[in-house]
């Protein structure tokens, strides 16, 4: 059971949150200018790493804020919490 530090509300149990999947996925556009391949890539292809994963989470049962996590997908250790729109931080 993950303990996630919401940037606004502090550490809370995972049941208060919803994971929105990989973050930093760039939405291509405008629609007419996007190739089928580029669109498929955006829609479906995911890094899905075994290890550090940058992902976005919503504090759904709290402040309703979206934020980013850097989390290890094997140990589930959370290495960083950072706001939407910020670049992925470097961690040791």
């Amino acid at each position: 059971m993950l303990l996630i530090s919401c940037p606004h509300c502090g550490p809370r149990d995972e049941i208060e949150f919803r994971c929105g999947g990989e973050t930093h996925v760039v939405r291509p556009g405008p629609a007419e200018a996007v190739s089928e391949d580029a669109w498929a890539d955006y829609l479906f292809m995911r890094q899905n790493p075994r290890g550090l994963h940058a992902e976005r989470w919503l504090h759904a049962a709290g402040c309703r804020t979206w934020f980013n996590l850097l989390r290890d997908t094997v140990t589930h250790e959370i290495k960083a919490v950072y706001p939407m729109g910020h670049a992925r931080p470097e961690v040791a």
Partner: protein
């Protein structure tokens, strides 16, 4: 009633002034307060307490704790019975009724014992090699009946459970010397400490050994520390509480067995900053021929029965060991009055303090000896010991085995910790772990008391420091008792006959060797092929012995052979405890609408729609469901109906960029909407799939009210925020879901306006001033109201949104004013038929997770819109423009009579198998039209108007015609009236 023949005249922690009567296997016995069912049975000389799973071998108690493999019982009767309990974990209470599982009629005389005779034909995995003809299913019933242990109670559980949540600085698991020392160290520094103990009494080995700590007898020191801990407000002490699971981020589950009050068990979910695992160690049995006879026990269990319960497991004992920890234990038994016929040690002669003490007590020691054979049918009568000098038979009624110790590393392993094999001590000890925990004491491989105390205390201090709290350091507790040697030598099996490794599942050393021979050489394969360790004792006594025999057989070391990862729970957890108090209506709350009580009083029949209890119809005396529905429909078509639509989602969207934002969210354009007007809109996801529809109201230049379907209210609110926060953070927009703040009362029908006039609105509701698809913010009957002129029925409709708290007042007012004009309350049954007659799309019923706006006729709207919106690129994909996609159309039976069932599939051609040409999504026998109609998704349906298609109804196929979905008032004259 038999006497307690094995009860010692004194000693133990039982209360001899409180005798308890209990029944086991149909006979009545006496025990004492403080007994377990196991200790009481042993006190009464009951030797056969159960039967093994596969061969139905008679079995006696082997252990005194949670590792017990043999004594599996059902406790209680009827709905309060519990199957598959270990007798060692059942605290004796007066009137307790227990019976062994897996035997008939009794454990002593079990018809199933015949299976034992066939054992040689049923080696491990035999079922994989046979039962193939004619098919497994043919044999399965008999196998299933033979398998299974106890019987589940027939009915629902009458008892209650609850969940507790806790946070602490330091959670200490186990209250033996190491755990207690850790708790004391942490608590005296002021940390918030929880200490949990699975047994009824705190103290672990302090309860069963004669030691001196800090100059006090062990039990007195224990009492003093417990008093001190109990006086601290930040300390929680929980006995009868097992730490069952160690999950991510230092979350642990605890199961507390509650003895007072209405709650049976309590599931704790604890988040600890640091965890100290002082889980102790479990003694290993030895594997030798016929080692499963009743009377063959763990030596430590014999000692615990003496010390804790005042019970001698037998009168004359033989001790069989491969290690030095047996000496002290044997001596303790001797002092308690159990005659020790011999201590049989497999090693060459040793000399140390323990040996000297035994010799001084006159206890014979047999060196380089192994128990090669045991004797006695239903109970042990003697053993044959083999030494280099020859064989000898020793008479005894109990054999204590001491095969070394397994630290209880389960929680450490669940926490993700590795295990390392200590070749000198012959045990797996905790290795590295990523979580904030540390193992101490015997659980960390420290068998000597002095080490346990020091290790535990140091861990307590360290935990406080790692929590960042100030440390109050004192001297660690000490003992002047020499723990003695713990030296050990491997003796993984004594060859010569059937020797049990997993007692409950009847896995023998031979089975392990057969598995290895057949190439099941991974320890996981071994487990799965032989079922070793898969019984309800979870392999606590069998895993390491099995692993070691496998390693020997394969010529590998134990680390090369590996160990299995321990999975939660440490001991089995009642399923009802997981549910806790979340039962019945608390399991998934039933949401009630603001006018619920009125509906209930008026005979509404409720059903669950997306969690909301909604009236499906209002039954009048003598009416059936169909009659009620048709009456309500007629009221709407000829007079008026009032419908509560409060679950409809309502989200306020406000800000300078609100219009731009909604243009990006909706498939159609919203920014061109004028204030005071409404527009119907569709939303898609990025795959171009319809996710919701609803009506948007523009309240002002920068202010919108987004309407969603009832089931999607929460999801769409999140959806909007996700786009705003994650993709378009530059847009100046705020959203606020207000669904439950506003009740929605929909007044609909040709007399709706007349009724609303009577009720009174503070704005002009005339057809010209307040036309279809417009919005007014004002008051209705003096109540603040947001009124939408929008219709789901095809009649003039007013969707009146008022503060939820005033909804019932307005509802009653409208009903009062409307009743003389024929107004009736309308339920969902009628509501859905009314909209089907109009052919309005119902997202989630007419659409599914594959439906695009193009499929429901929105192609022109999509191609008209120049701006980008969510899902647009997907709608441009060629696969979405294909002519053979399913289109939303109407369908009516060619004969005009046969009702078209929802869910029925459609085909244009006869007799083919495979993809159908569509399916029926909504249907009714239209009361207004007097014939069956339906809505459907049909392959290329829009281009096939007027054609017929076969409806594959369960009762037989028939023809239907594809028509426009607008069955009723296609021109919308009534709507715009």
């Amino acid at each position: 009633m038999a006497g307690q023949s094995n009860r010692l005249p004194s000693g133990g922690l039982i209360d001899r002034s409180r005798p308890l009567r209990f029944t086991f296997d149909g006979r009545t016995y006496m025990g004492y307060q403080g007994d377990t069912l196991a200790s009481a049975l042993l006190a009464n000389g009951v030797r056969v307490v159960g039967r093994s799973f596969k061969y139905h071998r008679p079995r006696g108690l082997m252990a005194a704790g949670v590792e017990e493999p043999n004594a599996i019982v059902t406790v209680g009767d009827g709905e309060r019975s519990v199957p598959n309990l270990k007798a060692t974990e059942v605290e004796l209470v007066d009137g307790l009724v227990a019976r062994p599982v897996n035997c008939w009629p009794t454990a002593r005389h079990d018809a199933g014992a015949l299976m034992g005779l066939l054992g040689r034909f049923m080696p491990s995995g035999f079922y994989y090699k046979t039962f193939m003809w004619p098919s497994w299913h043919w044999y399965e019933g008999a196998v299933r009946r033979a398998a299974g242990l106890g019987t589940a109670p027939a009915g629902p559980d009458p008892e209650i459970y609850e969940h507790h949540y806790a946070h602490c600085d330091v959670l200490v698991v186990g209250s033996g010397p190491a755990g207690l020392a850790a708790a004391v160290a942490a608590a005296s520094s002021g940390a918030r400490v929880m200490m949990v103990e699975q047994e009824a009494a705190f103290g672990g080995s302090l309860l069963t050994t004669d030691v001196v700590v800090d100059g006090l007898p062990g039990r007195d020191w224990l009492a003093r520390q417990l008093r001190a801990l109990g006086s601290l407000p930040e300390v929680t002490l929980l006995a009868r509480t097992t730490a069952t699971g160690y999950y991510d981020h230092n979350a642990l589950s605890l199961l507390e067995r509650v003895t007072a009050g209405p709650v049976r068990q309590r599931l704790w979910q604890v988040r600890a900053r640091r965890v100290v695992l002082a889980t102790g160690a479990l003694e290993r049995p030895l594997v030798f021929p016929d080692n499963d006879r009743p009377g063959i026990m763990l030596l430590s269990a014999m000692r615990r029965y003496v010390a804790q319960y005042g019970v001698a497991a037998g009168r004359r004992a033989v001790v069989f060991t491969n290690n030095d920890t047996a000496y002290q234990q044997a001596l303790a038994l001797h002092r308690a009055g159990i005659a020790i016929a011999a201590v049989v040690d497999c090693r060459a002669r040793r000399s140390n303090a323990g040996v000297t003490a035994l010799e001084r007590a006159g206890i014979p020691l047999i060196w380089q000896g192994v128990v090669e054979k045991t004797h006695g049918r239903a109970g042990l009568t003697g053993v044959t010991v083999a030494t280099p000098a020859g064989r000898r038979r020793l008479a005894c009624d109990v054999l204590g085995m001491s095969g070394g110790w397994n630290p209880a590393v389960h929680l450490h392993s669940q926490a993700g910790g590795s295990l390392s094999w200590d070749e000198a001590a012959l045990m797996f000890t905790p290795g590295k772990v990523g979580q904030a925990c540390r193992s101490v004491g015997a659980g960390n491989g420290q068998l000597a008391l002095a080490d346990c105390l020091a290790d535990g205390y140091a861990a307590g201090i360290e935990a406080v420091r790692l929590c960042g709290l100030p440390v109050t350091d004192g001297p660690p507790p000490t003992t002047d008792v020499d723990g003695g040697s713990t030296a050990i030598q491997a003796l993984w099996q004594v060859p010569g006959g059937k020797a049990w490794v997993d007692f409950q599942n009847d896995v023998t050393a031979g089975d392990v060797m057969l598995a290895a021979q057949e190439n099941f050489r991974s320890v996981e394969h071994l487990k799965r092929y032989t079922t070793l360790g898969m019984a309800v004792d979870q392999g606590k006594t069998s895993n390491i012995n099995g692993l070691a025999i496998l390693a020997e057989q394969c010529g590998r070391t134990i680390p090369q052979t590996g160990t299995t990862r321990f999975r939660p729970p440490y001991t089995p957890v009642t399923l009802g405890a997981f549910r806790g108090a979340y039962r019945a209506d608390l399991f998934r709350p039933r949401r009630q609408m603001p006018v619920h009580e009125w509906h209930q009083a008026q005979g509404a029949v409720f059903e669950d729609f997306g969690g909301w209890q909604r009236p499906v119809h209002y039954l009048r005396p003598g009416e059936g469901r169909e009659q009620a529905m048709h009456r309500e429909i007629r009221a709407v078509r000829t007079a008026a109906g009032l419908f509560e639509g409060s679950p409809l989602g309502k989200i306020e969207v406000k800000g300078p960029d609100a219009a731009e934002f909604l243009d990006r969210i909706y498939v159609n354009t919203i920014s061109t909407l004028k204030p005071g007007r409404l527009r119907y809109g569709l939303m898609t996801n990025e795959n171009g799939i319809i996710i919701d529809d609803g009506v948007v109201a523009r309240l002002g230049p920068d202010h919108f009210l987004v309407g969603t379907t009832g089931g999607n209210a929460g999801r769409i609110a999140e959806w909007l925020e996700e786009w705003l926060q994650c993709e378009w953070a530059d847009l100046r927009v705020v959203t606020m879901p207000v669904t439950t703040a506003w009740a929605t009362l929909t007044l609909t029908g040709p007399r709706a306006r007349a009724i609303l006039e009577r009720v009174g609105a503070d704005f002009d509701i005339g057809a010209a001033a307040f036309p279809h698809m417009s919005f007014r913010d004002g008051h209705v009957a003096g109540i603040p109201a947001r009124v939408c002129r929008v219709s789901f029925t095809g009649e003039v409709s007013y969707e009146i949104n008022v503060p939820a708290g005033r909804a019932t007042a307005l509802w009653q007012r409208i009903m009062g004013e409307g009743a003389p004009l024929g107004l009736q309350p309308v339920g969902i049954d009628a509501w859905m038929d009314l909209r089907t007659e109009k052919g309005y799309l119902h997202v989630g019923a007419d659409t599914d997770g594959t439906t695009t706006p193009l499929d429901v006729g929105w192609g022109p709207a999509v191609s008209r819109k120049a701006k980008d919106f969510v899902g647009k690129r997907s709608l441009l994909r060629s696969s979405n423009a294909r002519a053979d996609r399913l289109n939303f159309v109407g369908l009516e039976p060619v004969d005009g009579v046969r009702p078209i069932p929802v869910g029925a599939h459609l085909r244009f051609t006869d007799g083919t198998v495979g993809l159908t040409d569509g399916h029926v999504t909504s249907a009714c026998v239209s009361d207004t039209l007097g014939r069956p109609i339906s809505l459907a998704m049909v392959r290329g349906g829009r281009e096939r108007m007027g054609q017929t298609v076969r409806v594959l109804a369960p009762a037989g196929a028939f023809q239907a015609r594809i028509v426009s979905p607008l069955f009723y008032d296609p021109e919308g004259e009534r709507l715009n009236a």
